[in-house]
Subunit: 507 residues, 2 copies
Amino acid sequence: MAEVKKPVQKQIFLSGSSPDIKVPFKELTLTNGEKLLLSTVEGACPEAKEQPKLRAPWINARVGDKHKTQLDYAKAGIVTKEMEYAALRESMKEGPDAAFTPEMVREEIAKGHAVLPANCNHPECEPMVIGKKFSVKVNANIGASAVSSGFDEEIEKLRLSLKFGADTVMDLSAGVDNLQQIRSAILRASPVPIGTVPMYEALDRAHGDASQLTWEFFRDVVIDQAKQGVDYFTIHAGLTRELLPYAAQRMMGIVSRGGSIMASAMLRRDEENLAYAHFDELMEICREFDVALSLGDGLRPGALADACDKAQYGELENIGKLALRCREAGVQCFIEGPGHVPLDRVFENQDLEDKYCHEAPFYTLGPLVSDIAPGYDHITSAIGGSLIAWRGTAMLCYVTPSEHLALPTPEDVKVGLITYKLAAHAADLAKHLPGAQLRDDAMSRARAEFRWYDQFALSLDPEHAEQVWKSQMPDDCAHEPSFCSMCGPRFCPIRLNRKLKAAYNVK
Amino acid sequence: MAEVKKPVQKQIFLSGSSPDIKVPFKELTLTNGEKLLLSTVEGACPEAKEQPKLRAPWINARVGDKHKTQLDYAKAGIVTKEMEYAALRESMKEGPDAAFTPEMVREEIAKGHAVLPANCNHPECEPMVIGKKFSVKVNANIGASAVSSGFDEEIEKLRLSLKFGADTVMDLSAGVDNLQQIRSAILRASPVPIGTVPMYEALDRAHGDASQLTWEFFRDVVIDQAKQGVDYFTIHAGLTRELLPYAAQRMMGIVSRGGSIMASAMLRRDEENLAYAHFDELMEICREFDVALSLGDGLRPGALADACDKAQYGELENIGKLALRCREAGVQCFIEGPGHVPLDRVFENQDLEDKYCHEAPFYTLGPLVSDIAPGYDHITSAIGGSLIAWRGTAMLCYVTPSEHLALPTPEDVKVGLITYKLAAHAADLAKHLPGAQLRDDAMSRARAEFRWYDQFALSLDPEHAEQVWKSQMPDDCAHEPSFCSMCGPRFCPIRLNRKLKAAYNVK
């Protein structure tokens, strides 16, 4: 292919009310001069081993303040720098976007309808907001395990996650010696909020023996991780003892790893759920560091046969009560959701979450709308995910093609993320978020005008799109061809459209 | 891996009221003795170059009858062998399934709410029924083009389509010399209905010159293909001249190839749509051979920006009127649908189709719920596809990962089909079709009991699932391992469930 015009992409910053609020975006200039803002989660310094400590001055200025969390400030009517930053980030175009004002972010957080996860010990975190009024977010899971990977590999997976747009990342490392070091490296390198499941480290410290899992044991892990800078904790505090008999009746029982450890500890120690029993102390720790609580669904259904049963909804009701206590205590919280759910009951899950959990942000794993597609469960779950996000779910946890079969490879991480960015975007479009369709329209114009390189640049996975297209095109074209291999040069419907417009005098 | 027990699969036949009605199924015997019926479209003699002429005696017995089509018989209250066969095929378990009786098939066809495409010159066709009361069907497109492939390659693509479950196959061959020979080979080898777009061959015969496309020209192609045995024709008869100005206003104009050729002919010849103008003659030909008409949406939106506009819905209204004329004339027909449609307007498309087209079966391409995911449009479209099928769409046309970029490779055909079988199955589950969840439940039980090879056999893509699983498992296990690489041997939640069941005395 000879020289053709190509679009240009560069990093720009949108500025807030003060010079220290500068939000990175990618500015894409297409070959026809059209400009488009693309959001980015790669941070102000992509690829850097340590991100700049953007929030350090903001956090320092607050030392000694009675307000500890973003929720405290929001309830007091104070718009923080983080809120302004997060509002700007939701914009899809330059200039103030009336749809996403800092005040609106504050209000949603104050009501408990949104969270802004930002541990005071994670100053590298570029603030973002999770809530149904904002764009749908996507989480990627990474993490070392006894089977896989160490330090460098995890940092590589983090980078891959950011490249393909993970809005938050959960570090699920377990069963390795250097847990703390890995977590620390991830935190320093990450401009997005980092979540963990503290129960994994607790079990590690207890040498895998659930009968050793006391509250004191668990509390120490929670304190250590909070101090380290983790932005949100998944804690399965709603899985109370009275629900275990319902779980025992199920076809697949408990499929959540954290939930399973918690249940194991309850059975072995003949005690109530330790996080439930000590919820006030747990909230105190979280409030001190502004760690958001992601109230885990230890009883999420792992099979269609178990969907929407008494175990699942009983836990959701419990969680709803805990969410109210968090809101009262000034602790940010959101709610985890399923799991395996048939298509016709997806809406019901969001609606019950709204009801039981008082519109706290919902954060779901899929849901998967069938059980029979291992190897393709990124798709099974993206179907349910886009549907529930349209209905109001604020964040989707990605599922990769290896779900139910193996640990994800880097390629799986990529495919999982692209699939989920797509599902989230479909929901943003369906919710009519301001500006959501700008990129789609730019793509359609590029298609109508055979601007192939503009099409690639506008794609969720530019490299892949270009590669597929090139695989079947002659490589000696002097210009961008006004056809593709789907219909070949002779029958291109797109070309007819020029004649059609001419025939009806449409410019 | 040492010897482990593996499930066994064999072909069986379910028998109808007479010995010549024998419907092939796959019977899967799992390692725990459980048996499951899996539907198959590979025919009574999979892999054979020529399928047995199952319907030949049935067709011969009708010579001279005043009834020509399945619709004629249905309207006259007569249950044909084809209807009984198709009813049996919908069963998910052995023995008569009260949910899908031959009488119900007849009734749905008589009302025009279902079609049974079966050209009297395609005796190899194993009857199947397309309608909202039945399982959701999937179509795969194959076809030679100037860029690609010949004879053997097309037969290979047909076989691949059948292996992965295409309920019907469209041969979109165009721009090659041996069109008729390819189509004939496909018909003889195919146990599923074959569809075509006659306009492609018409343009070929006119040497690509749309100004030559007269009714006589088109009619001859239609007659030739009907005689050859094509089971359904996509014909863009609803794209009338008055709609062209609306199409000209669009961002992407016309993206349907057949629609574009038709529009081109209208513009060049300054005439009304030839299929619209000669619709009565067209129906006469179709009735003679019992070819079903798939009324094409030449104005399907090719961009979210064009979705649900006056061009699209105006054509749908036209088509609805043609559908009534078909019903009256005893010609089976169904309705093609979009295209690019945002998630929140998917239901509206099905609902309007029901209204304008009097519940004739809907057959959609996706819809795609975003424009920005080239390379992943099998997923973009499966999201919309599962949703619209849940709402009532009877058949989905697959979209492959190469959509918008290139002609599908064999791997694309496979991935496209698996994705669409999944979308269709998700809709069957959501519609609560009797037996739809049997396979999912068998999968969940196999998961709960670590019967890995049963899991693979129950998967939509068994070979792929097994390969992903094996890629990370040690290959020297003496038994099937009671864990997988996702959590590793130490923290398997599935294993806890045995203890949980024991603790609460659940068998």
